[in-house]
């Protein structure tokens, strides 16, 4: 395999990625730092400190931190259980997580309205059992639940990947050397699963930070996240410069998480 000319097979993709990945991102930055007439300005980016925008951003950060934390709390025990309880767990895991994806994700998110609403499924069951009803639809907890539901697979898969690769002999060795289960977890399992956890955290944090769909569907349009603000700037107000300015702010968060992922990916290889 030493015919160097064969490397030009990658040329179509390179041209494609320059045109549809790199240039578009440069365009976002260009629009972000220019005004309607094309002259330089920072006002689109500094617009983030206006009351509405900073509130939306802070709310988004709070939501995505909470969603990421909850996903980790739910996913980690799940992965530990899967590796110990289920035989052939990797195909079981892929099956239960792929299958839902074939039902449209908007529709699945929308179905939570049904489950959560005043006369919904959960309240139906609670009423039947004579328990107090609860209303979370169109309120923050519904949005949080939607995020956890939509992005849980992004946490489960990388965590599972690193947990399932832990050598069972290490656990036995820890036990033989007198570690109790808690110590084994703290000093063997957790450190070894860290790359997967970090990868899962970034994979959940970014989409929950930037979503506008979940807040639209489960928040009743009353709760504005930063994604909603950007979406409205582009589709309703057609103010592309302002929208690009806020998108540029989001890109900062994304770049940070890319660096974190890249760092841990590399350490994972070693």
């Amino acid at each position: 395999m030493n015919n160097r000319n064969n490397r030009f097979l990658a040329a179509p993709y390179l041209i494609w990625s320059a045109g549809f990945i790199i240039i578009p991102l440069v365009m976002v930055l260009y629009y972000a730092f220019t005004d309607f007439n094309g002259s330089f300005t920072v006002s689109n980016v500094t617009a983030i400190i206006s009351y509405v925008n900073i509130k939306a951003l802070m709310l988004s950060i709070a939501f995505s931190l909470a969603a990421t934390f909850m996903c980790l709390i739910i996913a980690y025990p799940l992965c530990l259980i899967l590796t110990t309880v289920i035989k052939n767990s990797s195909s079981f895991l892929s099956l239960i997580f792929i299958l839902p994806m074939w039902m449209n994700s908007l529709l699945r998110t929308y179905a939570w309205q049904n489950i959560l609403e005043r006369k919904g499924v959960i309240n139906g069951i609670l009423a039947f059992l004579n328990l107090p009803l609860f209303y979370i639809i169109n309120k923050p907890p519904a949005i949080l639940l939607g995020m956890i539901y939509d992005f849980l697979p992004f946490m489960v898969l990388p965590v599972y990947n690193s947990v399932s690769r832990i050598d069972k002999d290490l656990l036995n060795a820890a036990r033989d050397l007198g570690a109790d289960p808690f110590e084994t977890f703290l000093r063997v399992i957790w450190p070894l699963s860290l790359p997967g956890v970090i990868s899962g955290i970034t994979m959940v944090f970014v989409p929950s930070l930037t979503t506008f769909v979940i807040s639209d569907i489960l928040g009743g349009g009353k709760i504005l996240l930063i994604g909603n603000v950007i979406e409205q700037l582009f589709t309703q107000d057609s103010d592309w410069n302002a929208g690009a300015g806020l998108s540029a702010i989001l890109m900062v968060f994304i770049v940070i998480s890319m660096f974190i992922t890249a760092k841990y990916d590399r350490e994972d290889i070693k």
Partner: protein, 277 residues
């Protein structure tokens, strides 16, 4: 005891994952158009579905778009992987870095950036712009699926074929390609699924009068979704369930690890991390 607790936990997670799906399936048989109450069993939505041109149009567009974008992405991605085998390590890792951008970037930023590109190029938005966008976010799935397989490939078989007088192209198609086929197919299926399920990027790059199922559902969320869409989704879901069941007994779809293909962003990123770049 521990196992029992484990199973209870698993069951709870499963209920959480599948409750919305069960809800939608039940609603597809609900004769009341309002989703708030049960009006009795009916098959009307299933019967009405096939004569609802709007929904069937969106369905055909969605499937055609997913197929075409996945196909083009598979060809471009596989060619790119092949080309990268002949590159210096440094060039290869730069390209893999670029490939990671659409995977790690937020969908809204990808969508907005493509929208700005099309606006600046004064292209009128419609099927073509959406197709180009879908190809763009699909190629990484193909590359991240095929690259690790290339790394495991035994190069001496290809060289042996050349030594025995095979043309490079012939050697590629008879010796290399069959080994890659599983990875290529899994990249194609991932792309197909991602395209099928995408809403955000389509939302920013679609034009007026263009709808996929996702954008149609989104526009109906406020006024209430036509139950015929539940019926269609139920059918699609059951078809895939059957296919998966069927495919699981076919040896040729097996990945190297012997598991079925996982179609989410993370899995691919994890695979790429494992292989290194």
């Amino acid at each position: 005891m521990k196992t029992a607790l484990g199973r209870i936990y698993l069951t709870l997670v499963l209920i959480f994952l599948y409750a919305p799906i069960a809800t939608l399936m039940i609603l597809s048989f609900n004769s009341s158009k309002s989703r708030a109450h049960w009006g009795g069993f009916t098959l009307d939505w299933y019967l009405g579905l096939f004569s609802n041109e709007e929904i069937m149009d969106a369905f055909r567009t969605t499937i055609f778009l997913a197929f075409l974008s996945a196909l083009i992405a598979t060809v471009l991605g596989t060619a790119a992987c092949t080309g990268m085998q002949f590159m210096k390590r440094r060039d290869r890792s730069i390209i893999m870095g670029i490939t990671n951008i659409p995977m790690l970037n937020a969908d809204i930023v990808t969508g907005v950036s493509l929208m700005l590109l099309f606006l600046a190029a004064r292209v009128s938005m419609g099927f073509t712009t959406v197709l180009f966008s879908h190809i763009t976010f699909n190629i990484p799935y193909v590359i991240l699926s095929v690259m690790p397989r290339y790394r495991e490939l035994n190069r001496s078989t290809y060289e042996a074929a050349l030594d025995l007088g095979a043309e490079p192209l012939y050697a590629f198609f008879t010796v290399v390609l069959p080994d890659l086929m599983g990875a290529i197919l899994s990249g194609f299926l991932m792309s197909f699924t991602m395209s099928l399920d995408d809403f955000i990027i389509t939302h920013f790059t679609q034009g007026p009068g263009f709808d996929t199922l996702s954008t149609k559902i989104y526009s109906e969320v406020k006024k209430g979704i036509n139950p015929e869409i539940y019926a269609l989704s139920t059918i699609m879901f059951l078809v895939v369930l059957l296919l998966l069941f069927f495919v699981n007994y076919k040896p040729w779809v097996k990945k190297p690890a012997g598991k079925i293909i996982v179609t989410t962003k993370t899995q691919v990123v994890v695979t790429s991390g494992k292989g290194g770049s």
